[in-house]
């Protein structure tokens, strides 16, 4: 299985797309997580939010729902929606690979969020396709001797991580 690599260029494109989505959908927070629970990018007021935990729980939620879908013969549930007293969470899958999460309150509406997410989804899918292609060509370059920053990790580098 190939690793997931995020480069500066695409990171900024992703930030732009979800920043716009946040404004257009009048959302509080928009973030992107990969299906394994690693946070990729976030926009909005996260001061009161533990985004690492949020990422892991979102991925767990999507994984459990995917499992449910397969059990009843569906491929996946592309959208999950959780309605709270104050805040709501709208979760959608981008290109079967990453998860887009929008948190919004009464200043917005489900209809507006759904509409704006659909638009952003297409843009994000294109960016993640580009990343995928880059990772593959990167791999070829490495096989041809291109240096990754980790090619020369030493035992000592690693031991130093565990020194108190």
């Amino acid at each position: 299985m190939s690793d997931f690599v995020l480069f500066d260029e695409e990171f900024h494109q992703i930030k732009d797309v979800i920043g716009r989505l946040k404004a257009d959908a009048q959302a509080k927070v928009v973030f992107i997580v990969d299906k394994n629970g690693q946070q990729i990018a976030v926009q909005g007021d996260m001061e009161s939010l533990d985004t690492t935990s949020l990422a892991s729980l979102t991925a767990g939620n999507v994984a459990a729902t995917d499992g449910l879908a397969r059990l009843i013969g569906e491929k996946e549930f592309p959208v999950l929606f959780h309605e709270g007293e104050r805040d709501n969470v709208y979760i959608s899958i981008v290109g079967q690979r990453v998860i887009l999460v929008v948190i919004f309150d009464e200043r917005s509406s489900l209809g507006l969020v759904r509409l704006r997410v659909r638009k952003a989804n297409g843009e994000l899918e294109r960016i993640f396709d580009t990343i995928q292609k880059k990772v593959e060509s990167e791999k070829t370059r490495r096989q041809e001797g291109f240096d990754s920053p980790f090619a020369e990790i030493t035992d000592e580098d690693i031991d130093s991580l565990f020194r108190e």
Binding site: F4, F11, Q38, I40, D50, S53, A64, I153, D157, L161
Partner: protein, 194 residues
């Protein structure tokens, strides 16, 4: 599946603690959580039943420090050990970079250890991984109990590829960080090959 983030200069790796019910997986994470300084850890999340049995997973994010200019972040997960939670257990192995198998040293749990190890092998295959090649560490836990079997015997039955093996008493700490360090090291060494 390691996530290398050049934009944030971070490497994110996923470690899963596997093993039969009540062998001490959650206790390993709790000990690590208690002994790590607040700046280097996130919240310990436990999705557990009312009786404290792991229902879905425990999750602990840890920052270990910097390697070659990249922050290394490890996400530690445990699985629910009980046999009937197999569907959830399998989900958690998605994208795993390294596995710790926590064995319960008590003789009465030997069959459960063996069954869990077989289950791990099968669930890894379903995700396209191979237990023979994935970064992997064996922990022999509950060494403090009078009913613990001799280490040689456990080693003979559970160690299958000469993987690093540690004796542990997770609630008190011995073996817990040695185990984590050994698996983290293997995961980071894998990056060299990529």
């Amino acid at each position: 599946m390691t996530f290398i983030n050049y934009a944030a200069r971070e490497i994110n790796c996923k470690i899963v603690y596997y093993g039969p019910g009540l062998c001490g997986k959650t206790t390993n994470l709790q000990y690590i959580y208690d002994r790590t300084n607040p700046a280097s850890k996130g919240k310990l999340i436990s999705l557990a039943t009312e009786t404290d049995r792991t229902l879905f997973f425990d999750f602990l994010p840890l920052d270990l420090g910097t390697v070659r200019g990249f922050k290394t972040r490890f996400h530690l997960y445990t699985v629910p050990g009980q046999v009937f939670y197999d569907a959830s257990r399998k989900l958690i192995l998605k994208g795993v970079d390294g596995v710790v198998f926590v064995a319960d040293s008590q003789e009465a749990r030997m069959d459960a250890n063996v069954e869990s190890l077989r289950n791990l092998e099968k669930n890894l295959i379903d995700h396209g991984f191979d237990l023979q090649t994935i970064p992997y560490v064996l922990q022999l836990n509950k060494r403090d109990l009078p009913t613990a079997m001799p280490v040689d015997e456990l080693y003979r039955q559970l160690n299958f590829k000469g993987e690093p093996t540690f004796e542990a008493t997770a609630p008190a700490g011995p073996g817990v960080f040695d185990t984590l360090k050994a698996v983290a090291k293997q995961v980071l060494m894998e990056l060299r090959k990529k």
